[in-house]
Amino acid sequence: MDFSLSEERKMLQETVARFFENNYKDIKKRGEYLKMTDGFSREFWKESSNLGVISGLVSPAFGGLGGSGEDICIIFELIGKSLCIEPFLSSGLLSNTILSSLNNPKTDLINQIIEGKLLMSFAHMEMNNRYEDHFVETKAKLEKETWKLNGSKSFVINGDSADKVIISARIEGKVNDKNGIGLFLVDNNNINNRPYNTIDGYRSTEMSFENINGELLCKDDQALECVIKTNSAGALALSAEAVGIMQICFDLTLDYLKTRKQFGKSIGTFQSIQHRMVDMMLEIEQVRSAVMLASSTFELNSTTRDKNVSAAKNLVGRVGKLIAEESIQLHGGIAMTWEYSVAHYAKRLIMIDHLMGDADYHRDRFKLLSSI
C-alpha cells in the first residue's frame, strides 16, 4: 500500500503548479482570458503544450507522458486551484480519451492535440439529456456510403473554438436505447454554433447541424462503452478539480477569518466558526480520499472504475455545496463581490455538480454498480 506520489509525478505536479501560478496568479488575469475570442488564451494553451501538460493527460501508448487516473487528477487538481479555463477537459481529456479508445486509435489527431495544433470537443449532451450516457436524439444515417448527421447538441464545452468535434448520434433505436449509438468525427466548420459563457465563466456552445458529413469512429457496444468511459474520465477530472477548488476556498476563508475583526476579535476566534471550519476540513479530506481511490482504480475493470468515480463525484456534489456555501457565508459580504476570488471558486464548485452527472445521478449509478 502506498499513498504517496512517485518521483516522476511529484515533478509533474511541481512543474504544472509553478506554470499555473505564474499565469493565473489572480482572478483578474482569468477574467482577461475569458474575454478573449475563444474564451481562453491561445498563448497559454500553446505553452501548456510546450510544457507537456496536455501530454500528461495522454498515455505513452499514444504519444503522451501520463494519462493514468493519477496523472489526470494531479493536473486537474491544479486546474481547480488556479481556476484555469483552458480547454483541458474538452480537448485534452474527453477528445483524447475517445480517440485513444478506438479499435484503430487516431494517434495522429491525438498528437496534434498534444502539440497544441488541434482543438477538439466532445458533443454528447443534448437539451433533454440529463447526464445519461445513452440518451441520444441526434440522428445519423448512411447515404451512399457517407454518414449524414442531423440534430443539435447542447452544453458543448469549448465547442466554438474546436476544429473538429466528436458527435454522438443515433443510428437506430429509440432515444433512450442503449444500443444503436455511433460516434462521428465532424468538421466544426459545418456546424452552426451559438457560443455563450456559463455562469462559472467557461465557454460553451449550442450546436445545430443539418445533413452534415461525419466519419464513423465506432458504434453500438463500443460506442456506448466509449461514452461511458469518457464521461467517467470527465467526472474523475472534475472531482479532482473540485478538490483543488475546495482547498483554495478553505484557505481563503481561513486567511480571511484570521485578518477580519469583528467585535474587537478576529472572526476566527469565535468557536462556532472554528467548528464549522473543522467540519469543512474534515469533509475536504473525505473528498480527497474518495478521489484518490477513484484515481488509483481508474485503470481497473469498468465496474470498479465507474463505481469509484461515482462515489467520488457524488461526494464532490454534496461536499462542494457545503464548501461553496460556507466559504461565502463565513466570509460575509466580500464573498458576494465579483472582484474577490472566492465567489468565482464557489461558482465553479457548484457548477461542477451540473457537469458529467450530479450528486443524484452518481449516487444512483453507485447504487446500481454496488448492487444496493
Partner: protein
C-alpha cells in the same frame, strides 16, 4: 385557535389585489417575473402609484399619512405585492427612515422630509455598513467633525443598495472618537449631491450592479441634518433594526418561489419522465413545503401577537434565520432541477426588450444567477450568525 382570515381581512385582500390588477402595468410584472433588471423609473412608477393611493407609508401611523394597518393587514399587503409580481418597495425612505424620523426627528425634519417620502420625491439610501463593519455596526470609522454650523464627514459606506439612484442617504457616523464604540455615534442625513460624495458600483458575484460603495471626502453636512441628539445614533439605529418587520421571514417570496420550483420540476425531465416524479426530488420538495407551511404559521403567530401589541423579540431573529434557509433551499432545488440547463449565462437576457431565443427553456436563464444572488440574504441585515448571538443573549440567560 382559528387560523382563518376574517371576512374583513379577506375583503381587504381583494381590495389590494384588485388595485394591483388595475394599476400595475403588464410589462412591469413581466419584467419582475423574468428577473429582468428594473430601472429607476420602474421602481418609481410603482411607488408613485402607491403614494397616490395612500398606501406607500403602509407602516406609518395614520396621523403622519400612513395606513394605520394592523400586522395582519400589512402581511396581506406584502403577500399580494409578491403574488402580483410587483417591484419591491424600496424600503430605505418609507420603511426605515420614516419611522425613525416620526419617533426621533425634529418638527422641522418631520415637516420637511415626511411629506417628501410620502410623495416619493426623494430616493433614499442607507449608510450603515462599512468595509470594516458588517454585522458589527459598533466599529464604524466614518467620522463627522463638528465645524460649528456643519459637520465635516469623511469615510466610506458600503453595500449601499441602489445607492446610484439615491438623492439622499441616512448615515451612522462617529461624532465622538474618545468613547466606547457604541457611544459617540450619530444619525445624519446627507444630500448625495453634496460636493465630496462619490458613488462607486460594486459588481456582485452574479455580475449585477445593485449595491455600491459611497465615499465621503470632506463633505459638509448642515447641523439641522442631525437626527435626534448627537452621539445617540446607536439608539436610533437599533430602533430601526428592530422595528416591527412583519415580512422578515419572506413567506410570500418563498411561496412564490416554491410554486415556481414545482412548475420547473414538472417541466424538467429525468430519464424521459418529469423530474417531479422522481421520488427523491419530490421528497425534497415536499419537506421544503412542510418547512414553509410551518414557517408561515410561525410567522402568522408572531404577526398576530404584534397586532396585540406584543413586540416580537427573538421571534424576528428566528424567522430571519429560517426564512433565509427556506428561501435558499428553494433556489438550490431550482438549480438542481435544471441539471445542465443551469449552466448557460446570458447577461443580456435580463435587459428590458431582450427577445432572442433563450438557451433551453426560458425559465432556466435566471435560476443559477438567483441561487448565487440569494446567498446574500443570510449575510445582510445582520447575518444568521449574528441573529443566533442575539437570540442566545436575549433568551438563554447565559
Amino acid at each position: 385557535m382559528n387560523f382563518e382570515y376574517s371576512k374583513k381581512d379577506e375583503n381587504f385582500r381583494i381590495e389590494v389585489r384588485e388595485w394591483l390588477r388595475e394599476t400595475l402595468p403588464h410589462y412591469l410584472s413581466e419584467k419582475v417575473k423574468k428577473y429582468q433588471r428594473l430601472t429607476k423609473e420602474d421602481y418609481e412608477l410603482f411607488m408613485n402609484n402607491l403614494s397616490k393611493k395612500g398606501w406607500l407609508a403602509w407602516h406609518w401611523p395614520v396621523e403622519y399619512g400612513g395606513t394605520g394597518w394592523n400586522a395582519i393587514e400589512k402581511h396581506i399587503f406584502e403577500e399580494e405585492i409578491v403574488k402580483a409580481s410587483a417591484p419591491r418597495i424600496v424600503p430605505f425612505g418609507v420603511n426605515m427612515l420614516g419611522p425613525v424620523l416620526i419617533e426621533f426627528g425634529s418638527e422641522e425634519q418631520k415637516n420637511y422630509y415626511l411629506p417628501r417620502i410620502l410623495n416619493n420625491e426623494d430616493w433614499w439610501a442607507q449608510g450603515y455598513s462599512e468595509p470594516g463593519a458588517g454585522s458589527d455596526l459598533a466599529s464604524l470609522k466614518t467620522t463627522a467633525i463638528d465645524k460649528g454650523d456643519h459637520y465635516l464627514v469623511n469615510g466610506q459606506k458600503t453595500w449601499t443598495t441602489l445607492g446610484h439612484h439615491a438623492d439622499m442617504i441616512f448615515c451612522l457616523v462617529k461624532t465622538d472618537l474618545n468613547v466606547k464604540p457604541q457611544l459617540g455615534i450619530s444619525f445624519l442625513l446627507i444630500d448625495m449631491k453634496s460636493p465630496g460624495v462619490e458613488v462607486k458600483p460594486i459588481i456582485t458575484l452574479d455580475g449585477e450592479h445593485e449595491v455600491n460603495e459611497v465615499w465621503f471626502t470632506d463633505v459638509k453636512v448642515p447641523k439641522k441634518n442631525l437626527v435626534g441628539k448627537e452621539n445617540e445614533g446607536w439608539t436610533y439605529a437599533k430602533y430601526l433594526l428592530t422595528f416591527e418587520r412583519t415580512g422578515i421571514a419572506g413567506v410570500p417570496n418563498s411561496k412564490s418561489a416554491l410554486n415556481h420550483l414545482k412548475m420547473v420540476s414538472r417541466k424538467s425531465m429525468k430519464n424521459g419522465k418529469p423530474l417531479i416524479d422522481d421520488p427523491i426530488f419530490s421528497s425534497e420538495v415536499a419537506e421544503l413545503e412542510i418547512d414553509l407551511l410551518a414557517m408561515e404559521i410561525f410567522n402568522l403567530r408572531t404577526v398576530s401577537a404584534a397586532t396585540e401589541g406584543k413586540a416580537p423579540g427573538m421571534e424576528s431573529s428566528l424567522l430571519k434565520i429560517k426564512g433565509t434557509l427556506v428561501r435558499q433551499k428553494t433556489t438550490e432545488l431550482l438549480r438542481k432541477a435544471l441539471g445542465p440547463q443551469a449552466l448557460p449565462y446570458l447577461p443580456e437576457q435580463f435587459d428590458e426588450g431582450w427577445n432572442e431565443m433563450p438557451i433551453g427553456p426560458e425559465y432556466a436563464g435566471p435560476i443559477a444567477k438567483q441561487y448565487f444572488n440569494m446567498r446574500k440574504i443570510s449575510i445582510y441585515g445582520g447575518s444568521n450568525e449574528i441573529q443566533k448571538n442575539i437570540v442566545a443573549k436575549a433568551s438563554f440567560g447565559l
